[in-house]
C-alpha cells in the first residue's frame, strides 16, 4: 500500500474526521506518513524531535534503517513497531503518532493532552491531613498511589474496557495483603464487562457490584490518594479508571460511610465522639420526619404533654395534614438541594436566601406550613450532611419511612426499619458482609467502628476482609 492509498484508507476508516492529521513527509528517499489526532500530541516535539531528525535518514538497499529510526526518535518518545494496520488504527485512537513507512507501522508516544492540575477535591476538604486529590489522568492517579506505597508487592494491572471508548482500567492491590479470591473475582468481573463505553469509574462500580438492585452502593468511591492508600493497606482492592477522578475501593462496608480521612489524623476519643455524632445525625435525618408524622397522625400520646400543647398550637390552622405537609417540605428541600449543587456559587447564595427566607419563613407566616414541620425538616437536612457519601440513598429511605409512618404510624415505621435492616444485612460486597463488624459481630474490627481505639491498639487489619497478612503493627521496628 503506497502513501496515497494509505491516506485515503485512513480518511475513509475515520469517516473524514476533521481532527485526523495526515502528514506526508520523507525519511531519506522513502515516502512516509505521520498520522495523529489534533490536540492529543506535542506537535513541536514531532516536528523538531522526530520529523526533522528522520528527514536525513539513510536507507539500506532501498529499505528503512530501523536501527537509525529507533536511535533518533527514542529520545523524543517511546517508539514501537506495530504488527498490522488494524492495530495501527487502534493505536492512533489512543493518542499516539503512527508512522507508516516502507510497509511498516510504528507508534511513537508523543501524547500531550490538556489535563487538570492536582488540587484539593472540593467534596473532601480537610482541616488536617493531605490535600491532594485525584485527576482525570490514569497515569497521574496511579503514580499518586505508587509514590505512597514504595514496595514491590504493590501490584497494578491494567485492563481495557468499552467497545468504543477502549478505557484503561487499572486494578491495584498489595499481593502480600489482599485476599486472592477477591482480587481474582474483581479481575474476572471487569474482564467480562461487555459495554460500548466507560465514561466514569461509577460505570465499573455499578457493573461489578454484587447486588445491583440495592439502594446502597457496595463499592466505595474516593477522591483522595491518602484514603485509597489506607484502604489498600487494609487489604482492599482499588480500581482506577482513565478519565475519572474517582477511584473505587472494595470490598465496602456500611461503617465506611461514617468514617472520614481526618478521623485517622486526630485523637481517637475525638474521632469516636464525631462518629457517634454522625450516627445520631443520620438517625435524626432518616427517622425524624417519619417519627414526626407518626406521632402527629397516630401516637400523639407518646409526646410530652407540654410539647404536645406547643405543637398543637403551632400546627392549628395549617391547611395540610402532617403527612402532606412533611412530604411537601421534603420534596421542596430535595429540589432546592439538587438545584443548589449545580448552581454557580454566587447564584447558590441567592438560592439559599430564596429557600430559607422566602419559601420557609413566608410559608410559615402565611399559615401554609407549620413551623415544627420546617424545623423537623431542617434538623433532618443537617443530619443528612453528616454522612455525605450516602446522602442520596438515605434521602430515598427517609421518604419511604415517611410513607410507611403516614400509613401505620409507629408500627409502619418499625416495619420499614426492619425491612431496611434485614435488606442491608443480606448485602455482600465481594464476599464481605456489608454490615460487618456489627452484624456479624467481628470483635477485632470493632476497634475502628463507631468507637475508635488509638493507633497503638490497631494491631490487626480488618478481619472481615480475610487478608493474607493480618498484622499491621508490631511492637518495635524489628518485629
Amino acid at each position: 500500500m503506497n502513501v496515497e492509498e494509505l491516506k485515503e484508507t485512513l480518511k475513509s476508516d475515520f469517516c473524514q474526521s476533521f481532527d485526523l492529521v495526515l502528514l506526508q513527509r520523507k525519511i531519506g528517499e522513502l515516502d512516509c506518513l505521520y498520522a495523529y489526532f489534533d490536540g492529543m500530541i506535542d506537535k513541536e516535539l514531532l516536528e523538531n524531535g522526530v520529523i526533522s531528525k528522520l528527514f536525513a535518514a539513510p536507507t539500506l538497499n532501498g529499505n528503512i534503517d530501523i536501527k537509525y529510526l529507533y536511535n533518533n526518535t527514542s529520545s523524543s518518545g517511546k517508539i514501537e513497531e506495530i504488527e498490522n494496520f488494524l492495530e495501527a488504527e487502534n493505536t492512533l485512537t489512543e493518542g499516539f503518532v503512527v508512522l507508516f513507512v516502507d510497509d511498516l507501522f510504528f507508534s511513537i508516544d508523543l501524547r500531550k493532552m490538556e489535563k487538570r492540575s492536582i488540587t484539593e477535591p472540593p467534596t473532601s476538604s480537610v482541616l488536617k491531613g493531605p490535600r491532594t486529590g485525584f485527576v482525570e489522568e490514569i497515569a497521574v492517579n496511579v503514580s499518586l498511589i505508587r509514590r505512597r506505597i514504595k514496595n514491590k508487592d504493590l501490584v497494578i494491572q491494567s485492563l481495557t474496557v468499552g467497545k468504543y471508548t477502549q478505557t484503561t482500567v487499572a486494578v491495584c492491590w498489595i499481593s502480600s495483603i489482599a485476599d486472592k479470591a477477591i482480587v481474582d473475582s474483581v479481575m474476572k468481573r471487569i474482564s467480562q464487562i461487555n459495554i460500548d463505553g466507560i465514561i466514569d469509574s461509577s460505570y465499573i462500580g455499578m457493573l461489578i457490584e454484587d447486588n445491583q438492585s440495592s439502594l446502597f452502593s457496595q463499592i466505595s468511591s474516593q477522591e483522595k490518594p491518602d484514603i485509597v492508600v489506607a484502604k489498600i493497606l487494609e487489604g482492599r482492592v482499588a480500581i482506577v479508571v482513565d478519565g475519572s477522578p474517582m477511584v473505587l475501593t472494595l470490598p465496602y462496608m456500611l461503617i465506611e460511610s461514617f468514617q472520614d480521612s481526618e478521623d485517622y489524623f486526630r485523637r481517637n476519643r475525638r474521632t469516636s465522639f464525631v462518629r457517634l455524632l454522625r450516627l445520631i445525625g443520620i438517625i435524626f435525618a432518616v427517622l425524624l420526619p417519619a417519627g414526626y408524622v407518626a406521632l402527629q397522625e397516630y401516637q400523639y400520646q407518646f409526646l410530652p404533654f407540654k410539647f404536645m400543647i406547643t405543637i398543637i398550637n403551632a400546627t392549628s390552622g395549617t391547611p395540610f395534614t402532617p403527612t402532606y405537609e412533611m412530604i411537601l417540605v421534603l420534596i421542596v428541600f430535595d429540589i432546592l438541594n439538587e438545584a443548589s449543587i449545580r448552581m454557580p456559587r454566587f447564584v447558590g447564595m441567592a438560592l439559599s436566601i430564596v429557600g430559607a427566607i422566602v419559601l420557609g419563613e413566608t410559608a410559615v407566616q402565611a399559615g401554609l406550613l407549620s413551623s415544627p414541620a420546617v424545623l423537623v425538616m431542617a434538623l433532618s437536612a443537617i443530619g443528612m450532611y453528616t454522612t455525605p457519601t450516602n446522602m442520596g440513598t438515605f434521602s430515598i429511605i427517609r421518604l419511604a419511612f415517611l410513607l410507611a409512618a403516614s400509613l401505620f404510624g409507629m408500627l409502619g415505621l418499625v416495619i420499614a426499619c426492619m425491612i431496611f435492616i434485614v435488606s442491608i444485612c443480606s448485602l455482600k460486597s465481594f464476599g464481605t458482609d456489608f454490615t460487618a463488624p456489627y452484624a456479624p459481630v467481628v470483635p477485632a474490627d470493632l476497634k475502628d467502628g463507631f468507637i475508635k481505639k488509638s493507633i497503638n491498639d490497631t494491631i490487626t487489619r480488618p478481619k472481615a476482609l480475610h487478608t493474607q497478612n493480618k498484622i499491621r503493627k508490631g511492637k518495635s521496628k524489628n518485629e
Binding site: A181, I182, S185, K188, R189, Q192, I193, N194, L207, I208, E209, D210, N211, Q212, Y298, Q299, Q301, F302, L303, P304, F305, K306, F307, M308, L407, F408, G409, M410, L411, G412, V414, I415, M418, I419, I421, V422, S423, C425, S426, K428, F430, G431, T432, D433, T435, A436, Y438, A439, P440, V441, P443, A464, H466
Partner: protein, 378 residues
C-alpha cells in the same frame, strides 16, 4: 449484563461459631420478650415461676436436640431417613403454622390496642403479615443478623432508660408465683409461649464446629434461659401490686413514667422493642414454615412462589378468620393453648425433635459403619 458478573464469592463462610451463639442467644431473648406482657400476666399467678422454670428446662433440652438436627443440616438433611423427613416436615409445618397464625393474631391485636386504640385491625394485620413474610423469606441467618443490629439499638435504649428507672420492689409479689400448686394447669396454659427452639431444626448449621464451639452455642441458649428467668423474677418483684398493675409492667419497670411531663408517655421505647421482637419472632416462624414447605413440595419446581403464597393464604388466613370472629381477647393464646388442638400441637412440638434426632442418629451411625466396612474391604 452478564449474570456471571454478579455472582457472589464462593467459599466465604462468615457464620462463625461465636456469631451463631450470639444470634441464637438474641433470638431466644427476642422470642421470649415478645411474649412478655402475656407471660408476666400468667407468671404472677399461682406457681407461675415454677411453670416458667419447667418450660425453660424443657426448652433447653429441646434446644440441644434441635441443635443436633441443625448440626446435621436441618430438617432437609439427607442424614435423616426420607420417610421421617417428610412426615417431620409436615408435622413441623403444622406446628409452626399454628404458632404463626396465633402470634400474627396476637401481634395484630396487641399493636392495635397499644398503638391505635383498637382500631385499624385489618390493615394492621395485612401490614404485619406481608412484612413478616418478606422478612421471613430472607432466611434464618439474615434475620439473625438483623436482630443483632436491633440488639445493639436495644442496648443503647436500655442503657438510656436505666438513668430514669424507678424501682418499686416488693418481695411479697413473688409469693403466689413461687407457690408450687396447680403446676400442670399452668404448664398447659404457658405452653404456647415456649417451644421456639424447634425453629432451629429448620436451620442448616452443618459446620464443622469444635466441641468447645458447640458448647459455646449451647451455652448461649442456656444463658438466655437464665437471663429470662431472672428477668421475669425481677419484673414480678418490681411491678408493685402484681394483679392490678400487670398491664403496666413495662412502663413501671424500665421506663421513665415519673418524667412523663418532660419526656412524654415514655413507655414507648418498650412498646417499640416489644414490636420489633414480635415481628422478628413472626418472621422466624415464617422462615421455618418456608423451610418445611420447601422440603414437602420439592425445591426448583415452577410456580413455587405462587404456590407458597396460596398456601400461606389458606393455612394462615383460615385460622385467623376463626380467631378474629371467635376470640376477642388479646391474651387469647392461653385459651388456645388449653384447647385439645393446642395441647396436641404442643405435645407434638416436644416429641417430634426427639423422634427426628433418634432417627438421624441411627442413620448417621449406619452410614459411618458402612464407610468403615468399605475402608476395610478396600
Amino acid at each position: 449484563m452478564n449474570r456471571i458478573l454478579t455472582t457472589k464469592l464462593d467459599g466465604k463462610d462468615t457464620l462463625r461459631a461465636p456469631e451463631t451463639a450470639i444470634i441464637l442467644f438474641l433470638l431466644m431473648i427476642t422470642f421470649k420478650t415478645c411474649n412478655m406482657p402475656a407471660v408476666l400476666y400468667s407468671a404472677a399467678e399461682e406457681s407461675g415461676i415454677w411453670c416458667i422454670i419447667i418450660h425453660a428446662v424443657l426448652d433447653a433440652i429441646l434446644t440441644c436436640v434441635s441443635l443436633y438436627v441443625a448440626s446435621l443440616g436441618g430438617i432437609q438433611s439427607k442424614n435423616i431417613p426420607k420417610g421421617v423427613r417428610k412426615v417431620a416436615a409436615a408435622l413441623l409445618l403444622f406446628f409452626f403454622l399454628f404458632k404463626l397464625s396465633a402470634f400474627i393474631y396476637e401481634t395484630t391485636t396487641s399493636s392495635s390496642s397499644v398503638l391505635f386504640e383498637n382500631s385499624l385491625i385489618f390493615p394492621i394485620f395485612l401490614a404485619i403479615l406481608i412484612s413478616t413474610a418478606i422478612i421471613g423469606s430472607s432466611g434464618f441467618t439474615v434475620i439473625g443478623r438483623g436482630s443483632l443490629i436491633f440488639g445493639w439499638l436495644s442496648i443503647f435504649m436500655l442503657v438510656f432508660n436505666l438513668f430514669f428507672v424507678g424501682f418499686d420492689g416488693f418481695g411479697y409479689n413473688l409469693f403466689p408465683a413461687l407457690r408450687f400448686e396447680n403446676v400442670t394447669k399452668g404448664l398447659i396454659k404457658q405452653a404456647v409461649w415456649f417451644g421456639e427452639p424447634l425453629i432451629l431444626m429448620t436451620a442448616d448449621l452443618s459446620k464443622k464446629y469444635t466441641k468447645k464451639q458447640n458448647a459455646l452455642i449451647g451455652g448461649a441458649f442456656a444463658a438466655a434461659s437464665l437471663v429470662l428467668i431472672a428477668f421475669y423474677l425481677l419484673l414480678i418483684y418490681t411491678y408493685g401490686n402484681a394483679s392490678k398493675s400487670v398491664n403496666n409492667a413495662f412502663s413501671r419497670v424500665l421506663t421513665m413514667n415519673k418524667y412523663s411531663n418532660e419526656l412524654g408517655a415514655v413507655d414507648w421505647p418498650m412498646i417499640i422493642l416489644w414490636l420489633i421482637a414480635a415481628l422478628i419472632h413472626t418472621s422466624c416462624l415464617f422462615s421455618a414454615c418456608k423451610q418445611c414447605y420447601v422440603e414437602l413440595v420439592e425445591v426448583g419446581k415452577k410456580g413455587l412462589t405462587a404456590k407458597t403464597i396460596i398456601f400461606y393464604i389458606l393455612a394462615i388466613g383460615l385460622p385467623l378468620v376463626f380467631y378474629f370472629t371467635v376470640f376477642d381477647n388479646v391474651l387469647y393464646t392461653t385459651v388456645l393453648g388449653s384447647l385439645p388442638v393446642g395441647i396436641i400441637t404442643f405435645a407434638l412440638g416436644y416429641a417430634l425433635p426427639l423422634v427426628v434426632a433418634i432417627a438421624a442418629f441411627i442413620k448417621v451411625k449406619k452410614i459411618k459403619k458402612e464407610e468403615k466396612l468399605n475402608e476395610v474391604t478396600e
